[in-house]
């Protein structure tokens, strides 16, 4: 019996340290700043253990029954702690820290109760100095074991959610074992056994289903129902729906919401194309969703649209899934449209075709690879593919949130000898968004629109070209392949906006 209790000290100590490490690691993952997370989590945990130890004086009788109950509670609370924290974060990050410290404190208090109770149980059979020496030895050994296993085995192989559940099972195991050892001395033994059974089964079930739990948590990250996910060599495509709102996310970045994408795509296409009555050939770079194409096809004079998008999975999805075909009005299956799955840069380098209208709808310049698509070299390449009277329009991030980035794109276009006309529109999902029309001749906004629009009107168009004071032009360097200043501007500016 003595040896059994000492073994359970070892297990208890392992579990205690494990919960502490799991909470600190999870907080570092989700909140960053690991030094702060580790020191505050460990500090509050140790303090809570002190509170637990102090509270142990109020447990007078039924020591064993109380010990079993504490073990069951630690097992359930600690076991589910990682899952609970992860879910709460994906639901809403705001109260996450409060919940984190509540969980840490509660587990800490319970763990703090454990050792004093075990010592008091053992005191019945052993001399005090032996109790202290044995219990603390096993306590520290357990801590050592977990501190080594945690980074080497548990985190890489089980992950945080499963590791926590595993230790929960161990705590409940200790409770059930203690119950077995003392079943003659404990009142309400049947009730305790039932509680233990339920705790054990729910922890085991959660452990078995941990894979699905993670997916579920990820789905909470998107808030809405995920209707399609696909990992391609190039990106992760996630499509979500909430009521009639379809949203496309590429690598966790929102690309459009069907609620207001018409604002974005009308603003992208019509101000330029409405001034090109003789445009025949259009090129869309990076618009694999077919939404810009939908707007272009409204013009009867357009004879052909070439869409160059790197990812065949994107264009296949938007040419085949019924709700998406409805959204882009089946643009990608139009006989006037030719889809080419190629690297836009490579395709432009290797082709000589020229176009009357070019839509450049690439992701924002958030890394050096994407930064190339906004460089002077790229715009020179673009210029080669522009017909004499042709126009190109470039999505240019937000002139409000990333003001210098926006004007850097304008400056870069001008540096290669193109005339740049910047404008902006409000797209609620994105905020205030910017575009630039580029060509070799001066551009004049259209006096009217010959096609149906939901957002643009003749009256409101001039306002698109007016930049309020907080979006006015600022000086920026030319973005070149050999300086990539735009990526640096963009990083700095969005870091101010996104937490």
């Amino acid at each position: 019996m003595k040896r059994a209790l000492l073994l359970s000290v070892f297990v208890i100590a392992s579990c205690g340290l494990a919960y502490e490490l799991i909470a600190a690691t999870l907080a570092s993952y989700l909140l960053g700043d690991s030094v702060t997370q580790f020191s505050t989590v460990i500090g509050s945990y140790l303090f809570a253990m002190g509170v637990g130890s102090w509270l142990s004086r109020y447990i007078g009788q039924q020591l064993i029954q109380r010990f079993i109950q504490v073990e069951l509670l630690v097992g359930v609370l600690g076991g589910f702690s990682a899952a609970l924290l992860f879910f709460s974060f994906t639901w809403s990050p705001a109260p996450f820290q409060l919940l984190l410290y509540l969980v840490v404190f509660a587990v800490g208090v319970l763990v703090g109760l454990e050792i004093p109770l075990v010592m008091r149980i053992l005191k019945r059979d052993l001399a005090f100095r032996d109790v202290v020496s044995h219990v603390l030895t096993f306590d520290y050994l357990g801590a050592l074991a977990v501190s080594i296993l945690f980074p080497i085995l548990l985190v890489p192989h089980l992950g945080l959610i499963r590791s926590a559940l595993l230790f929960g099972v161990l705590n409940v195991g200790v409770a059930l074992w203690t119950w077995w050892l003392f079943r003659e001395q404990v009142p309400n033994a049947g009730w305790l056994r039932a509680q233990g059974g339920v705790a054990l089964l729910s922890l085991l079930a959660a452990f078995a289903a941990a894979g699905e739990l993670t997916t579920l948590a990820e789905s909470q990250l998107y808030a809405d129902e995920i209707v399609h996910t696909e990992s391609t060599p190039y990106q992760r495509i996630v499509l979500t729906r909430w009521k009639d709102d379809l949203r496309l996310h590429l690598n966790n970045n929102l690309q459009f919401s069907s609620r207001d994408e018409y604002r974005y795509h009308e603003a992208l296409v019509h101000p330029a194309l409405a001034t090109l009555p003789s445009a025949r050939r259009a090129l869309v770079l990076g618009g694999g969703d077919g939404l810009a194409v939908r707007e272009i096809l409204k013009y009867a004079q357009i004879e052909s649209v070439v869409v160059v998008d790197l990812d065949p999975a994107m264009t296949r999805l938007f040419a085949s899934a019924p709700p998406l075909r409805k959204l882009n009005q089946d643009a990608l299956n139009s006989p006037r449209v030719r889809v080419i799955n190629a690297d836009a840069l490579q395709w432009l380098e290797e082709n000589d075709e020229s176009f009357d209208f070019v839509v450049v709808d690439f992701p924002d310049p958030s890394n050096f690879s994407l930064g190339k698509l906004y460089s002077a070299s790229f715009y020179r390449l673009l210029d080669r593919h522009l017909a004499a009277n042709g126009l190109a329009v470039i999505q240019s991030t937000s002139p409000l949130y990333a003001r210098r980035s926006f004007w850097c794109i304008v400056t870069t276009l001008e540096s290669v000898g193109l005339l740049a006309t910047p404008y902006h529109a409000l797209v609620p999902s994105f905020g205030e968004w910017g575009f630039v029309i580029a060509g070799r001749r001066p551009y004049r906004p259209p006096q009217s629109y010959a096609v149906d629009t939901r957002f643009l009107t003749r009256e409101t168009t001039p306002a698109l070209f007016v930049f309020p004071r907080d979006m006015e032009r600022v000086d920026a360097e030319v973005n070149r392949l050999n300086n990539q200043v735009l990526v640096r501007y963009f990083e700095q500016e969005w870091r101010q906006v996104i937490r």
């Binding site: 190039y234 790197l310 690297d343 836009a344 840069l345 490579q346 432009l348 380098e349 890394n367 050096f368 690879s369 994407l370 930064g371 190339k372 698509l373 460089s375 002077a376 070299s377 790229f378 390449l381 030319v478 070149r480 392949l481 050999n482 300086n483 990539q484």
Partner: protein
Amino acid sequence: MDRRDFLASIVAAGAASLAACRSPTPSLPPGELLGTSLDIGHRLREQALPAAGETRKVPVLIVGAGVGGLAAGWKLAQAGFADFLLVDLESEAGGNSRAGRNAVSAYPWGAHYLPLPTRESTAVRELLAELGVLRGDVRAARPAYDERHLCATPQERLYLDGRWQEGLLPLTGVGAGERRQYRRFTDTIAAFAQRRDAAGRPAFALPMALSSRDPDLLRLDRVSMRDWLLAQGFDSPQLHWYVNHACRDDYGTASAAVSAWAGIHYFASRSGEAENAASDTVLTAPEGNAWLTSGMLRSIEARVGQRLLTGALAFRVAGGESGSGPLAVDLWLPGEQRTLRVLAEQLIWAAPLFLVPWVFSGHARLKDAARRYSYAPWLIANLTLSQLPEERSGAPLAWDNVLHRGRSLGYVVATHQQMRLWQGATVLTWYRSFDELAPEAARAALRETPREVWAEQILAELEQPHPDIRRISSRIDVFRNAHAMVRPLPGLISSDARALFAADGERLRFAHADVSGLSLFEEAQYRGILAAERTLRRLRVRFASSLA
């Protein structure tokens, strides 16, 4: 690397080579072991080559079609002088700037970048303008360059303590004291870079022949770079690492062995600027500097037709001492198994100078002078990867990627300049100098070590920053260059030996980077053009000089 690491590495290499002899590791990717034409070259020592069956007269013969020889030919052709022959032992021209090519990309087998040309590098600017890479006024302080050749950002990164940082000067874990030394070093170099002598010459010019001859500067050639740093109170270990890396990278030689003059020249001479790039930007291409050598070759062909004879080993040079008639140069043509004698009115020797004692008959002073030279061997590997390698945290893949604790000098990415959004397969060019060994010992290691051993060492090193490198490497081709470049040891720059090769002659001139003592494109080209212009003057051909 300390002594113990080094001994351990030798033991490991030995064990690996034994293992490789018994059973070649099946998991290694395939590839070839290439190199300069070692066995043909070694026939020089044996001198067992047959006598000439045919004799041909040529007004000007250029031996060696590396940067020096091609530059000489380029200048002759530019002056409208067509009566020359350019010969090289290898199957193609280019010397240290040769390149390979596979389905993924072209890639260098040697030199792979050119700093922005200085104001003094007039011939480099002229060549770049002709190749369409320098736009506008050739003599402008800050000309514009073709962005396809300006190294794209990010240019350099360093793998230090398990993490990539931007730039090569170590920053992680470097304290305030060391940073102060960084700043003081930068200031010291800036002062050298700005210094002009009474005649207006830069302290450290590129080409080096235009440098100041002030005695206090020439005294720098008497000490090693490392000793000079220490004498200036620079003892920061990371600063020493950085300077040592630079010396190994450019001279294949450690800072403890390189002359301080040459070491400072590396940092203080590169003053070129561009209108459309920062001054530390370099010009590069997937194929390394082969775009420059093939550009010169094309230019020669366009002006005067085909003048190149490859697969020709010059193994005996007779005559050419003052007052004598034409030089007789015997060429062994291994492809035809015969010897051709060329009687050259003028000879431009644009091959490495270490060959002089083996090839020249007579010319005792030149032979003695050539024996003064020491050469660094190099090993270069091209790894063809099916995809970009997995990365550790920190700065993203750059053009030049250096491992702080690596025995190599790191690798450059051949596809870095490609206009691609999505980078799939690529080729990494990995460089290894042997500065930790005596050159003779390193050459012995190069001769005897099988490709598999090198491949294993390369993979083991690159596995640190790129855990999946073994899985994604589809080929590892290895190139051995036993006498890759001259070592600018203390005393060479200011030696009489070097002055002897730099001097003009009646019929014989030397046109190789060895003449400068610095293995740089600018130096080789300068020597080639200088030799060509001296030859043209001797032949009374009118030309416009390319030199300042």
